[in-house]
């Protein structure tokens, strides 16, 4: 039986907080770095959505596998990918976690069970089914998790995967992060029926619609989903309603958002604030402890940034390396 988030012990709660806060600090740092023109490429920031990745990944270990989206930094950190290697990757450094060849949109760390950010919307769903199939065939008892945006709910790859996972009873969980938008387009418009969770029923699997800014709600739904998966009963779908604090990507003017939409979300729906209030209210953790974490995380990320800036780029020979295992 799954334990509820409220039953987590002190150290686990601290770990959840640590991961969420690390994501937040990481994203804010990346944003500054990108704005200052010191980071190449495109970045899609996860700030505001931390409770989803962490609520899900607190149930997983390195042998469970997740497949991420274009908005992948949070999933990485939640899954245990190390910040220095990530920061170097985003800076296109040779000892980045993908040796500088992936970048933000393709960041991956298979050793941590993180099968990659993915710049093709929806493409991760079948891949997560694959991880689940491997777990099932090899009898490891592990699961696959597919993180998806609301926009991905309309992509054929995803819809087919829901069906396949269901009839093959794959140990996979589809986690839809409904942050209200796919780029500038409202999810309430793009998704017939308005909600992703309706699709669970159509494909004969349990569906959970949870407040994605509430770590405990996500954690509890995921607990049930993962229990089902581990019992061999098949997939589940979680729709986590959440909020994107920044633009779709850095550079997005966001004029399509309502007046004060972001401000009020930041005020009322900040998952970190909510988590803090909850654990402080329940007196499981104390403010000083959390503040100490914050300081440590800020330092850690700042160090990672400094190291990333100073790190060397790939070498010319890397261009043609690692296309194939052998050719």
């Amino acid at each position: 039986m799954s334990i509820s988030g409220l039953q987590l012990d002190r150290e686990q709660l601290l770990e959840a907080y640590r991961r969420m806060r690390t994501i937040r600090v990481f994203e804010e740092t990346v944003r500054e770095e990108f704005e200052a023109g010191r980071m190449p490429g495109f970045v899609h920031l996860y700030a505001g959505e931390e409770a989803v990745a962490v609520g899900v990944c607190m149930h997983l270990d390195d042998a469970d596998r997740i497949v991420s989206t274009h908005r992948g930094h949070g999933h990485c950190i939640a899954k245990g990918v190390e910040v220095p290697g990530m920061m170097k990757e985003l800076h296109a450094r040779r000892d980045g976690v993908c040796h500088g060849k992936g970048g933000s949109m393709h960041i991956a760390d298979l050793d941590r069970g993180m099968m990659g950010a993915n710049a093709i919307v929806g493409a991760g769903a079948p891949l997560a089914c694959g991880a689940a199939l491997a777990a099932k065939t090899l009898g490891t008892g592990k699961v696959g998790v597919s993180f998806l945006g609301d926009g991905a709910a309309n992509q054929g790859a995803v819809l087919e995967s829901l069906n396949l996972a269901s009839i093959w009873s794959l140990p996979v969980v589809f986690v839809f992060e409904n942050n209200g938008y796919a780029e500038s387009t409202a999810s309430s418009w793009a998704i017939a029926g308005g909600e992703v969770v309706r699709r669970a029923e159509a494909f004969a699997m349990p569906g959970y619609s949870v407040d994605g800014t509430d770590f405990f709600a996500v954690f509890d739904a995921m607990g049930q989903a993962i229990d089902r998966a581990r019992r061999g009963e098949g997939p589940s779908l979680i729709e986590a309603r959440t909020v994107r604090f920044f633009g779709h990507h850095e550079g997005d003017s966001q004029t399509y958002r309502g007046t004060n939409e972001v401000e009020s979300a930041r005020a009322d729906r900040d998952c970190l604030v909510r988590f803090r209030e909850r654990v402080l209210g329940a007196k499981v953790l104390d403010p000083a402890g959390l503040d100490a974490e914050d300081t440590a995380i800020t330092t850690m990320v700042a160090n990672a940034l400094a190291a990333a800036r100073a790190a060397p780029p790939p070498e010319p020979g890397d261009l043609t390396a690692d296309v194939y295992v052998s050719y």
Binding site: C98, N118, I120, S184, T185, A186, W189, S253, Y256, P314
Partner: protein
Amino acid sequence: MARIRTTRDALNEALHQEMERDPSIVAIGLDIAGGTGSAGEQDAWGGANGVTRGLWRRFGPARVLDTPISETAYLGTAVGAAASGLRPVVELMYNDFIGVCFDQLMNQAAKFRYMFGGKARTPVVVRTAFGAGFRAGAQHSQSLHALFTHVPGLKCVIPSNPYDAKGLLMAAIRDDDPVVFLEHQALYDNKGAVPEEPYAIPFAEASIVREGTDVTVVATGRMVQMAAQAVTRLAADGIECELIDPRTTSPLDTDSILESIESTGRLVVVDEGAPRCGFAADVAALAATEAFGALRAPVQMVTPPHTPVPFAPELEDLYIPDPDRIAAAVHASVRAGR
């Protein structure tokens, strides 16, 4: 005085003018208006690259349709609508996304006319961004024109400057066959003379960017710029290249290429697509089969290596053919000559 515009604006103008002229044209794509269903501004994006900006305001939601992220459904809808009397112009945000929807182009749009005994017309245009240089990584930087050129029934257009962009897009929209229209990401902000009045540039008419008698250089898209830099430099060394931009890879103006080779005896093909079964190989094969007698040196292909597009700027810059490599290839061609 010449009217100077960016490629983006030239494309935008072509869309406006054509949609004004012909009410059967509709525009379809992700965020091509933007803000649909949202609380804030409608028409907030004008497409990921801003090419369709203003269309929604001008022509309204019945003719400018935002879509969910369902490339197969909306591309297929455009194809079906084209076969039913509309002239849809679809935006596929990046050509890399063809992987999720190629069927509707390669097996449907491209083959209707032939399979149905000549009775179908499928005037659909698929506009799509392509090309490397933006540190966008392996899935947002490809140059996939070889795939489109390979498929009988499709046409494939690659403008290299704002003037051509406008004229070729107009021609594509007026064309009665399915056309893939490739817009290089790095050229959107490129500026050049663009007349205000509508004009269409016929397909299969290469543009001779520079005349020359020593070496024929064929290049498309952004590679035309790279090659232009190279040949200007080479001219200073006394090597006169003829730079040809085919503008459409299917149909291809083989005559212009062959005539040039007849006069120069040397061919360098520059292409941003992958080398194997790519467009560079296609032109090289054309020369080897049709202009062999005139060739006086090995054909030189200047392409990226057979690798995905890397993220790191240092690697991506090495990946993309540049003026140095092009100049080196021209030199090699001249040296090897008989």
